[in-house]
């Protein structure tokens, strides 16, 4: 058993531990339980396919929005004084034709390659009764660390299609909740039932080649081995659009994409 698999075990064990904590009523049994059942996955976890760092390419580009950007709805957050003031919906964030919060990832072309899950957790922050970021990419199995910076209690309630649903509350200044998602799922909605406007999307993918467009609609995917790929651009409201692209070794390719107003 090499070092990597060992690490893998501990992460998955930790994750399951967390899950079990939510499932179980009796803590003692729970921990005992998870350690029992976790002895197996190590043996079956596939080893990551090595990538030659010398040949990796980069894909970047800008996502545009054609047409007039819809006006963002104003949200009144006064029902909870801790949320302070007003807020805006983040359905379609367009800044001068640049479309933010588009999730870009390599949808196809990697074959049966597998990749190690990064040890560093992805952070999802709640502040001002808003999720930061609004769209999040994460690898399957990677830890998502959820923090609450507000002086109010939030609850985090993902409503996935293919992953498990859960719903946990997080009072102010309580420790971060650490979770992970096992299965690939794009635009997995997350909401807070106490603050109905709070909404964000987590994108769970199986490879590390993903990015989210920033306010200027830019994204960059690095470290891609050369090959033919399908790159998918997904927007929570406007849907998904794909592009095929071929990258050579050490190449930096620009792939732009644009969404139409009132699209699909």
């Amino acid at each position: 058993m090499n070092k990597k698999t060992g690490w893998r075990i501990s992460v998955s064990a930790l994750a399951l531990c967390g899950l079990l904590l939510t499932a179980a009523c009796n803590k003692k049994e729970n921990t005992e339980q998870s350690s029992n059942t976790m002895s197996q996955p190590a043996a079956t976890a596939p080893a990551a396919t090595p990538i030659d760092p010398a040949t990796v390419a980069t894909v970047n580009g800008t996502v545009k929005f054609d047409g007039t950007a819809p006006k963002q709805a104003k949200i009144d957050m006064s029902q909870d004084p801790a949320c302070k003031g007003m807020n805006e919906a983040e359905n379609v964030v367009v800044d001068g034709g640049d479309l933010a919060n588009v999730f870009v990832y390599v949808k196809d072309g990697l074959g049966s390659r597998t990749f190690d899950v990064p040890a560093i957790p992805v952070v999802l922050d709640q502040s001002g009764c808003k999720y930061h970021p609004h769209v999040l990419g994460v690898m399957a199995g990677q830890t998502v660390q959820i923090k609450n910076d507000d002086q109010t209690t939030h609850n985090i309630h993902p409503t996935p299609k293919d992953n498990r649903e859960w719903n946990e509350s997080q009072p102010p200044s309580s420790p971060a909740i650490e979770k992970n998602f096992a299965r690939e799922e794009i635009m997995l909605p997350v909401k807070c039932n106490q603050h109905p406007w709070m909404k964000m999307y987590i994108n769970v993918v199986k490879n590390p080649f993903y990015a989210v467009t920033d306010k200027s609609g830019k994204y960059e995917i690095k470290g891609l081995p050369p090959g033919d790929y399908t790159i998918a651009f997904v927007q929570e409201k406007l849907g998904e659009q794909d592009q095929k692209v071929t990258v050579g070794p050490k190449e930096t390719k620009t792939v732009d994409q644009s969404f139409k107003a009132g699209g699909e």
């Binding site: 009523c25 049994e29 339980q33 996955p41 299965r183």
Partner: protein, 1089 residues
């Protein structure tokens, strides 16, 4: 013969066998006839019975008939009947002409119909036959020709000759039409005739109904029917055959009258000149309890399921009754016949049909519990709390295991889901994992319920005898060895049996008990007022369970101890505590740690030293504690001073001074303790008493659930086996006079080698089967002498005889799943707490209090009858009331609903379990559906309210004269509950029935009947109504009920104020001045001190 015959005859060839053959043949024929006779009569003694029956029963019926005719004549003399008869005759005469006419027409139509019918049916048959040929012919031409033939035939004219001689010709369609026409005509005519006769038939029916309604016995016509059956009877086996239950009962082949609708005693069936009923007469009585047969239809139940015996056998009386060696289910003897009930009704604590309580079997069931038999002997259903508790513990363990398994499975499923090949699979697996989590949550709910139940069960566990952990606090030490020597010497009616202990055993047992008792200090109590204590003792209801006085002076119930000599043994301070609240425990006991928890344990956790049903968790580990004394004695919610008064009074009850008991300081000898422990265990003292160190001790006796069907070989008659088998003049082994007097049938002379004999002897003198045996102290029989009376031995014997493993199908067992089950469950609790000592549950049932002298002329001071309790009260209210009869948490020294009664409804500290069962019981007993949905009472208009108020307060309906109003001055003399309670407590429909005829609901109640009368289908007030009622069309009864249910305190005050003489209203007519004075004194002193 060819060979020359010899001079001397050859004996072999010449000997004749004719004589032998003749004799042999004659004998053979005789034998054959014997066999035939045996088959026809020898093996069928019932034929003789039936012959006798024919004669005797016919004679009996002749007698009865003449009596019946006489009484019928009597009825016929009645003017009402004469009027009916006259009416009948008149209608008969009136309709006669018309009816004759109609009949004539009808006859004519019938005759014509017949004439047409004969021609029509013949021709129709021919047409049908032709049609068949048409239908089955294959070629079109053949069909056509057939059709032609049919048409031709149909057009032919047929002649019909009518009864009047006229002839008509019809074609087939005409014929058909004519036929239908006459048929319809006839139908019409017969309906017409019916109409004409209708008044006649009705009048006749009325007449007959009058006779049958007014004849107490059978009518002569009915008797004639019976007589015909008897005289025309052809000897035959009469049998009940129920294949499903394998019942074949031919009992009625001899007991021919068992199901006759008449009451027939054996004496009535004696043949002439006899002095006492012979075998035949005994057999021909009718069933003494026809109402039982009505519940248990003999066609389904047969006879043997209740009576036993060999229902199939018909060859002799002994065989049929199963009274022979190899029949396992011999007939129950007459006096034990109620044993049969126990076969199917083991789950019923009280057996009653109508107003008949089956005292023998009920007595046996009660004795088994009250005398603590269940402390040593397991019996299904009795004292099952510890078992249930155990079962619940098991269940909890099981559920926890299941929860663990579910968790394991959840984790596994989630892991599988994460690794699943497709999203469908993943979702399916995740779904399953979610289901399991939900399942676990359900299990948590179940666990919680089980926890509640064990809390309840802990509370429900009771012991027959007192808690001996308190012995040092409670008893005069020197009295203990004297008591153990022979309890009946001290208190003849005690439940404590005689263990035949020798002095050493007594010393050792006393020492153990004394030394293992609590030594916690008791608060010192000041002495009270004995005279007031006596009065309280006699009026608060203590006597419903306890008795006092000895011999002729004895009064009170047998449920609990006789307190005549309690002053010799008891410690005053403890007695006060006990009377104040018998359930108050010195220290709680933790079954988990198996120790008594003291203040130090509470102090360790910084908890207050408080334990009661609401604080029942062990401070050490949170397990459920036993926080009450395991006694059924309730709290009467007395003021502490009252408790002191009663205790003071009781301490005066003594024959000798406590100090006169010889010193028993050996009880402090620590050496005796170990031996004492041995004997306490040996004799199973902990079956009835709580004893330190014996909390988990099992029962020492054999299980008795199926004792009645235990093979006789397993009952150890010891040295008396042969004696019992053979009977005779030395058959009775019991020599002791007292014990001999316990035998229901007196000393045995007949063989008694059967279950009955075994039980009776064992109960009369338990160690009888040790007699003559050489046994060591520990081998000797442990069962104590229960000093039962003859009747009690009979009851218990009957109970045990009926305790059989029945071969009947399960459907015959009375184990209902519906509300009747609630009734069964409820009786166990009602009997457990002796509710019947105060309340009447069954019509005709006598309560202990009813029998007391002091209630003879103040019956209204008796506790309420509960005959229709379920129909009367809202179940939710009942639950509240039962858990707190004061209906108040602060003002508890009173009755919540009937403050005017001196007898007190005590607080029994029922567990939730028992409350639930009791409420269901009362509802089920009155056939009330559960859950209860209250009836909507319409809101009265102001006008109606005014009317109702005026009626309510009118002098004609002085409701508030008796009913309490909350005004203390008035309530002192009130004898009925406050109306304000009605809304929450009562059911409106019951109230309507109640105010119409209270005597029918609760006979003897002080509430009078006849307040309302029926007029035009409305119930109107019987007395003069206030003027506002002029022109009111509505139902007065309904109005009043609705008013009561809307009564508010303000409204009540208004009414009271409007009542002119409310305050000065006289005392209840039936109570004299002296008692009234006593009563007011009691109330004052009870309430104000």
């Amino acid at each position: 013969m060819p060979e020359k015959p010899n001079l001397e005859q050859d004996p072999i060839t010449s000997k004749s066998y004719a004589a032998y053959y003749l004799i042999a043949t004659v004998i053979l024929m005789a034998t054959l006839f014997w066999a035939l006779w045996d088959e026809a009569w020898g093996q069928r003694p019932w034929k003789a019975f039936q012959e006798q029956w024919k004669d005797r029963y016919s004679a009996f019926l002749n007698n009865t008939r003449s009596g019946s005719t006489k009484s019928e004549n009597g009825v016929e003399q009645n003017p009402d009947y004469v009027a009916l008869k006259r009416a009948y005759e008149k209608t008969y005469q009136d309709s006669k002409a018309q009816a004759d006419e109609a009949r004539k027409k009808l006859d004519d139509a019938s005759a014509r119909l017949l004439a047409v019918q004969s021609v029509f049916t013949d021709r129709r048959a021919y047409v049908n036959a032709l049609t068949y040929e048409l239908e089955t012919s294959t070629s079109a031409s053949a069909k056509a020709s057939k059709q032609k033939e049919i048409d031709k035939y149909k057009n032919e004219q047929a002649t019909v000759e009518y009864p009047d001689g006229s002839k008509q010709k019809y074609t087939f369609p005409q014929l058909e039409e004519k036929y239908n026409e006459i048929r319809d005509e006839r139908t019409k005519l017969s309906l017409e005739l019916g109409d004409v006769l209708k008044p006649v038939t009705a009048a006749k029916a009325k007449m007959d109904e009058y006779i049958s309604d007014h004849m107490v016995d059978l009518t002569p016509q009915q008797i004639d029917g019976l007589k015909r059956r008897a005289t025309e009877w052809v000897p035959a086996i009469v049998q009940i055959n129920v294949a499903d239950a394998n019942i074949v009962d031919r009992c009625e082949s001899c007991h021919m009258n068992a199901r006759e609708p008449l009451k027939i005693t054996p004496a009535a069936m004696m043949s002439k000149g006899e002095k006492r009923p012979d075998e035949y007469a005994e057999a021909f009585g009718s069933h003494p309890q026809p109402e039982l047969l009505a519940i248990h239809d003999p066609e389904k139940f047969g006879c043997s399921p209740c009576h036993q015996g060999n229902g199939r056998a018909t060859t002799s009386v002994e065989k049929a009754h199963g009274n022979y060696e190899h029949w396992l289910w011999p007939l129950f003897p007459k006096e034990n016949s109620e044993a049969g009930c126990q076969n199917c009704h083991a789950a019923d604590m009280e057996l009653a049909s109508g107003d008949v309580q089956w005292q023998t079997i009920n007595g046996g069931k009660d004795l088994f519990r009250q005398r603590g038999c269940m402390g040593c002997h397991r019996y299904e259903g009795y004292d099952k709390e510890p078992e249930d508790l155990n079962a619940i513990g098991q269940q909890i363990k099981q559920i926890e295991t299941q929860k663990r398994d579910n968790l394991k499975q959840t984790a596994f499923l989630m892991k599988e889901a994460d690794a699943a090949a497709s999203n469908e699979d993943a979702n399916r697996l995740n779904g399953k994992a979610v289901d399991l989590r939900v399942a676990n949550s359900k299990l948590d709910g179940r666990l919680q319920q089980l926890d509640y139940q064990s809390h309840s069960l802990m509370q429900d566990m009771k012991k027959v005898g007192p808690n001996l952990k308190d012995v040092r606090l409670k008893l005069n030490r020197n009295w203990i060895p004297v008591w153990l020597k022979k309890p009946t010497d001290f208190r003849p009616t005690t439940k404590m049996p005689n263990f035949r202990l020798n002095d050493r055993q007594i010393q050792a047992i006393s020492a153990y008990i004394w030394q293992s008792g609590f030594t916690d200090p008791l608060p010192k109590r000041k002495p009270g007022n004995a005279a007031h204590g006596k009065e309280l003792f006699e009026t608060r209801g203590c006597l419903a369970c306890h008795s006092i006085g000895e011999g002729d002076q004895l009064q009170g119930g047998t449920f609990a101890a006789n307190l005549s000599r309690v002053g010799e043994k008891a410690n005053y301070d403890y007695l006060v505590r006990w009377i104040h609240n018998a359930r108050e425990r010195t220290r709680p006991y933790c079954p988990y740690e198996k120790k008594d928890i003291g203040p130090e344990d509470y102090a360790k956790k910084g908890l207050p030293y408080q334990f009661d049903p609401d604080h029942s968790q062990c401070p050490n580990d949170g397990h459920e504690l036993q926080v009450q004394n395991m006694t059924v004695m309730p709290s009467l919610r007395l003021a502490p001073e009252d408790a002191e008064d009663i205790a003071t009074y009781l301490m005066t009850q003594k024959k000798r001074e406590p100090s006169s008991y010889p010193d028993a300081s050996f009880m402090d000898d620590p050496k005796l303790k170990a031996e004492g422990e041995k004997w306490v265990r040996h004799y199973g003292c902990s079956g009835c008493h709580e004893i330190a160190g014996f909390e988990d001790e099992g029962r020492i006796g054999t299980e008795l659930t199926f004792e009645g069907s235990k093979p006789i070989e397993r009952l150890d008659f010891a040295l008396f086996t042969t004696t019992a088998e053979r009977g005779g003049k030395d058959a009775e082994p019991i020599k002791d006079k007292e014990d001999l007097a316990r035998l229901p049938d007196g000393p045995a002379t007949e063989p008694w080698y059967d279950h009955k004999g075994f039980f009776e002897h064992k109960l009369a003198e338990p160690n009888i089967y040790d007699q003559g045996k050489v046994k060591s102290e520990t081998e000797a029989l442990r069962m104590p002498n229960m000093h039962l009376t003859k009747d009690q031995v009979l009851d218990l014997t009957t109970f045990l005889m009926g305790s059989e493993e029945t071969s009947l199908p399960a459907s015959y067992q009375y184990k209902p799943g519906d509300a009747r089950h609630d009734i069964q469950e409820g009786w166990w609790i009602v009997k457990k707490y002796n509710c019947m000592g105060c309340h009447q549950f069954i019509p005709g049932q006598q309560t202990i209090l009813m029998g007391l002298k002091q209630y003879q002329d103040i019956q209204e001071q008796l506790p309420p009858k509960l005959l229709t309790e379920g129909a009367r009260v809202d179940p939710e209210w009942l639950r509240k009331f039962l858990s707190n009869p004061a209906l108040s948490t602060t003002d508890t020294n009173r009755n919540g609903i009937r403050p005017y009664l001196k007898v007190r409804m005590p607080t029994f500290s029922f567990s939730d379990n028992e409350l639930r069962k009791l409420v269901r019981f009362f509802q089920a007993l009155s056939q009330q559906p559960m859950p209860y949905i209250p009836e909507q009472v319409p809101v009265l208009t102001t006008k109606e309210t005014d009317m109702a108020r005026s009626l309510f307060s009118s002098s004609a309906a002085p409701c508030l004269k008796c009913h309490a109003t909350g005004d203390p001055a008035h309530d002192k003399i009130a004898t009925a509950p406050n109306f304000l309670l009605a809304k929450e407590r009562l059911k409106p429909d019951w109230v309507e029935r109640w105010i119409t005829d209270p005597q029918a609901v609760s006979p003897g109640t002080s509430m009078p009947s006849g307040l309302f009368k029926q007029e035009n289908n409305q119930w109107v007030f019987a007395g003069p109504t206030p003027p506002s009622f002029q022109g009111y069309e509505g139902d007065h009864r309904k109005l009043l009920t609705d008013y009561i249910f809307q009564l508010t305190p303000e409204e009540q005050r208004k009414v009271a104020a409007s009542m002119p003489h409310a305050k000065s209203a006289g005392l209840h007519p039936s109570s004299d001045r002296k008692q009234a004075a006593a009563r007011s004194h009691a109330t004052v002193s009870g309430g104000s001190r």
